[in-house]
Amino acid sequence: MLLNLNSLGAWKWILLAITGATSVFLLLPILFIAALSFGSSQWLIFPPPSWTLKWYQDLLADPRWLEAAWTSFRIALMVTVLSVLIGLVASFGLVRGRFVGRVALRALFMTPMILPVVVLAVALYAFFLRLGLNGTTAGFVIAHLVVALPFSILALTGALEGFDKSIEDAAVLCGASPLKAKILITLPSISHGLFSAAIFSFLTSWDEVVLAIFMASPTLQTLPVKIWATLRQDLTPVIAAASTLLIVVTMLLMLIAAAVKKGMKA
């Protein structure tokens, strides 16, 4: 019968073959990029004639790449802090509040996540032109914040809903003011939610391309923007090196997140 692997007969091998092929399909390009970044061919001939660290050296020696990386990092950091703070406060209102339109408000907060980013990018581009925020860090942070906030709210409302408010009430009766009770008791109890919100917000900003393209200026570029601009000109392996670094950072963050989640569940 169909939901038991061993009773599928010949179908079993077909399913497994497709799965195997798909896994390879999904994995190979990533490994390929990593391999390319160490290859000596400037025209991305694969397999490369020899291996080298040249592209990484070029990357790390180029102040514009380093600048782009630093820009990405500090913007992502600011976005993370703001997203978690605003999301946390909003989540308290959404979960504990009693007002008409609460459900609609929640849906509204989720909208930036489900609508095509290009529409938002173009709209903000026009808006910021009026306000003079194009090509500014502030503009960048705001734009990323809009798309990171839904993730933050999703994670934090989930965590708050799973938290028994009686515990906070007990803390108040023990003598802690409502604010103190939230800080000392509630926040530690939803730390996994805070952590998720932070990681998702950071990665959303760090990897974001479309908004960045529109928010950028020749002097203010995030890493994805620099890669995009370079890509439109040629396919130099330096991009492979930059991409590999991006991949490594993302993987590291995901591993940390997984480890922390496991540690918290224990």
Partner: protein
């Protein structure tokens, strides 16, 4: 003399709906008073008004003559144990109990000593470093109790703290609560819907019904002299026989039962000038039966006999269809070998009866 705790004219309304109509109560220092009633009777609402989680629409609460309604919850210095386990999950048992003391600025040494004392009080010595997740429900509630008492509150509120536990454990902890009450002499206000629990723990019981207190008294008073039909039904088992008031003098009535039997001098609750039809209330253990007709006896048919260890429950039905339970001590000769359907004669102790209109 100023009462210790006074609840005066408390009313709580949510929009057009009234949860608590008019609750008046004084509590003595060191008393164990239970709010007893079904869900929705207003007992929990009243408790939460005391804790400061709800604000009354009208009325006042005075502790030692001073109103506490102006004080926010976290400054009321009241202890509370909730129905759900509310230990702080990320803190150890010791840190949980220490929390209210830290908030009050106690010295480290004083805190350590106090935590040890409280753990001894609830018989969980050595549990300082345990985490709540590693403890059973009963243990968690005991720690919650220790935490609530750690700062010597004048009043301890308990909102159905044992309803999440199984029966055996419940009885164990009821025993503990009673012991701790006697040891600490703290004033306890306890909410429950379980009349047995109320009878077991309390000095006095306030029976709540539809947002008001029907009656306050000791368990015996409520059992022997219920003021309303609701109290009679809620506490202990009761039988009700339809009757009619023939005559009323000074709060006592002469009534006629449906089959014509007349009984005199029964305490009357209600005004017979307005209506004369009511119910005669009897406790099952105040009834007796016999196969022989005696004076002042009610004819009935035996429907079922249940053996319950210390006593036997005989379910009977009178001629007009009223079900009457009779509780007899085990070994009573009247019922040995009586088959179902036998006609018997019921007698009762009129001194223990009440009439409710």
């Amino acid at each position: 003399m100023t009462p210790f705790l006074e609840i005066r004219g408390i009313r709580k309304q949510y929009g057009p709906v009234v949860a608590v109509h008019d609750v008046n109560l004084t509590v003595d220092h060191g008393e164990f008073l239970t709010f007893l009633g079904p869900s929705g009777s207003g007992k929990s609402t009243t408790l939460y008004i005391l804790a400061g989680f709800e604000r009354p629409t009208r009325g006042d609460i005075l502790l030692n003559g001073k109103t506490i309604l102006d004080t926010p919850s976290h400054q009321r210095n009241i202890g509370m144990v909730f129905q759900r386990y509310t230990l702080f999950p990320h803190l150890s048992v010791g840190d949980n109990i220490a929390f209210p003391l830290k908030v009050r600025g106690w010295s480290k040494a004083a805190i350590t000593e106090r935590v040890r004392q409280m753990l001894t009080l609830v018989r969980l010595e050595g549990f300082e470093d345990r985490k709540p997740a590693a403890m059973s429900g009963g243990q968690q509630q005991r720690v919650a109790l220790a935490r609530a008492l750690a700062y010597d509150p004048p009043v301890l509120l308990m909102d159905e703290p044992l309803s999440a536990l199984d029966k055996k454990l419940r009885e164990e902890i009821q025993h503990e609560i009673r012991r701790i009450h006697q040891q600490t002499e703290v004033t306890i206000l306890y909410v429950t819907h379980d009349q047995e629990e109320a009878l077991r723990l309390s000095d006095r019981i306030a029976v709540f019904s539809h947002g008001v207190i029907d009656q306050i008294g000791t368990g015996e008073q409520l059992y022997a002299d219920p003021a309303t039909r609701f109290v009679a039904e809620f506490i202990g088992d009761s039988d009700f026989l339809p009757c009619r008031v023939v005559e009323q003098v000074n709060g006592r009535a002469r009534i006629a039962l449906n089959d014509g039997l007349i009984v005199s001098d029964i305490p009357l609750h209600g005004n017979s000038a307005r209506k004369t039809d009511g119910m005669l209330m009897l406790r099952p253990e105040r009834l007796s039966l016999s196969t022989k007709k005696t004076e002042m006896a009610l004819p009935a048919t035996v429907e079922d006999i249940t053996f319950l260890g210390t006593h036997v429950n005989v379910a009977t039905r009178t001629a007009d269809g009223t079900a009457v339970s009779v509780r007899l001590p085990f070994g009573h000769q009247a019922i040995s070998g009586i088959p179902r359907g036998t006609g018997v004669w019921l007698t009762f102790d009129a001194n223990a009866a009440h009439v409710f209109l």
